[in-house]
Symmetry: C2
Subunit: 397 residues, 2 copies
Amino acid sequence: MSKLFESLNEQERITLEKLLELKKESGTHSPSPSEIDQILSPKNILVDACFLSNPYGTDLYLRELNKLMSSDACRGYIENYPSQNHSISKKLSNVLSVNEKNVFVGNGAIEIIELLLKEVIQGKIIVNLPTFSSYYEFCEEKERLLLNYLKKSNNYQLELSDIEGMLDEAEALVVINPNNPDAQYTQFDKLEEIIQACKRKDVKVIIDESFIHLKDGFNSYQDASHNYFFENYDNVIIVKSLSKDFGIAGLRLGYMLADESTINRTLAHGKLWNVSGFAEHFVDLLSANDYMMQYEACRKQHIDDIKELGILLNNIDDVKVLPTNTNFYLIELPDNIDPQVFCYVMLIRYNVLVRGANDKVGLDGNYIRVATRRPDENKLVVKAISDTLSDFKKLLD
Amino acid sequence: MSKLFESLNEQERITLEKLLELKKESGTHSPSPSEIDQILSPKNILVDACFLSNPYGTDLYLRELNKLMSSDACRGYIENYPSQNHSISKKLSNVLSVNEKNVFVGNGAIEIIELLLKEVIQGKIIVNLPTFSSYYEFCEEKERLLLNYLKKSNNYQLELSDIEGMLDEAEALVVINPNNPDAQYTQFDKLEEIIQACKRKDVKVIIDESFIHLKDGFNSYQDASHNYFFENYDNVIIVKSLSKDFGIAGLRLGYMLADESTINRTLAHGKLWNVSGFAEHFVDLLSANDYMMQYEACRKQHIDDIKELGILLNNIDDVKVLPTNTNFYLIELPDNIDPQVFCYVMLIRYNVLVRGANDKVGLDGNYIRVATRRPDENKLVVKAISDTLSDFKKLLD
């Protein structure tokens, strides 16, 4: 590290220190682009490949928002209280073709995850590591956590045999499918077997499908959803962030599908007006048939870009790229490179941001996570990774 | 009632029943305008004088939002996660000239009220009735509530002598100033005396100042705030919704000023990304000096309109209008008129919505609450009230 620090000029060194400090303050989550930009100033992030989001989804929403802004309806979404939660859930239930009593709309999926882990599930929870950190951080009593470390030798695949022994004492199992940060997918049959095993032991299965709709191979958005499991197994709860595939993280919107008693237990915690007027407008958009039709093209375009990025990444020397099942890639750096420092040096020198995965408990190796952006941006990302690798090589040789 | 129902035509009767049913479903809060519009369809609410909001504030924000939409910055607020809570609180602390460690930004004031009553205050709470219903509804254990019924004979004024006997067993006192729904104001000196009495008994005082900035007589927005109490008494917590005065209820934004330990106890409940990108944009607007300067004109214009509306309302026969200290009026109807039915008949016949106050526990009489809108709308509201009173008079004579 000291050799590396010496090779940076003074300005670079100061910036790197500030970025590492900001990351520390942000805990196991990434600092926001605007916070990072304040440190980089007067430069800005050129490509943000840290954040997992479909840019074509954002394009589509922006077009609709522009239409809204020039219509009279706009004022109402800003001036008035949004509809109460149950009323927005009802609208969404029509889109999802499920009973309105089984839907809860959240201020982002994270609000739902917090409610589930703190207010609904009171017993022990099986969490597979690595994972989205909130799934264990919201469990304040650490003795409630039953941790299953996914094996690198098994490509971080979830196996029933690894968790079977925990089912007797568990109240719930969390399965993010595909998983974040490793982008690995638990096949339909395998997942059904896990759900059945859980059902026999009266264990709920929380399936977080926030990344499923960006997996290649499904004919349609609906086709990709895990609704079959929800409809056929009463121990299944579905959690879904709409941020990633629809490109609207700023709106804060997610939902849960669950049995009525779980929904009522979450509703008991206030949540009267928990999503904003713009989020309600987005649900109204989804209710209009042509939005989903237009979105389907955005989804497929993004999946094409993911595949193209994969080819480019696999051409980089000295790194190992895990095959992906969603819109990001987990990449293993050489042994002697600290991923977080690597990412921030790349950001300082080439203005490209990817995510260092040091803070992901359960990852065995020096990983970075790279999100898919637009094709021209993806090329810049790949070049920045290559160039930064060369920089480090020179330093560390 | 039956005579009234008979006098309505069939369509009116069906609509009235649906509206009363919707109100029942909405509990002690008002149904949203869009829910009401669905029932009124094909007609719409012409003037919404139920909802308490400064229309000039909305105008100002809409102008800024239009500017944002035509700039590159817009995309970031939608596509990216908003900054984490502490980072937005820091921005707001600069606007409010308080230490960032004393600020918590909420997804609407209601999120803050819920956190305060459920997670921070564990003991008994003195609540003055009538009040904003969430202040007692979030207290799930009813034995935690110490209820002080404000006296009609005293114009619903808060008196230290009425609550003094409760201080020994209380952990906190809630003072909405001015109060909702009666629009009564506790004078500065009187409030300071109450705060001091509470301090002697180690009782926290939660001051909800959501309506203070629309009270006549203050030179500036800052001047109207209760910051003096927060700065001088460590038992004071300030809660503030930004919905009302800034006309942005759809954005969901409020804040709390409190001692560091209270702030940390609320932050411990997740709330990482609890406000939306548009709410963050609004905080960024507030941080720009000229927004508050422009807003000051909106505030004063609205206060002028409030006074003008007061004159018109006082000219209506057969009702008693309570003097106001904010942007709405509490009006007492004749004894034999049910306020909720009155409001919905008025809505059906004249497309003007005001709030029936039957559901406000602690109000002694048949009240409706009338919000100030723009001058031309206010005239329509006053005429609709007069006309509906005539309609009822004919029926009930």
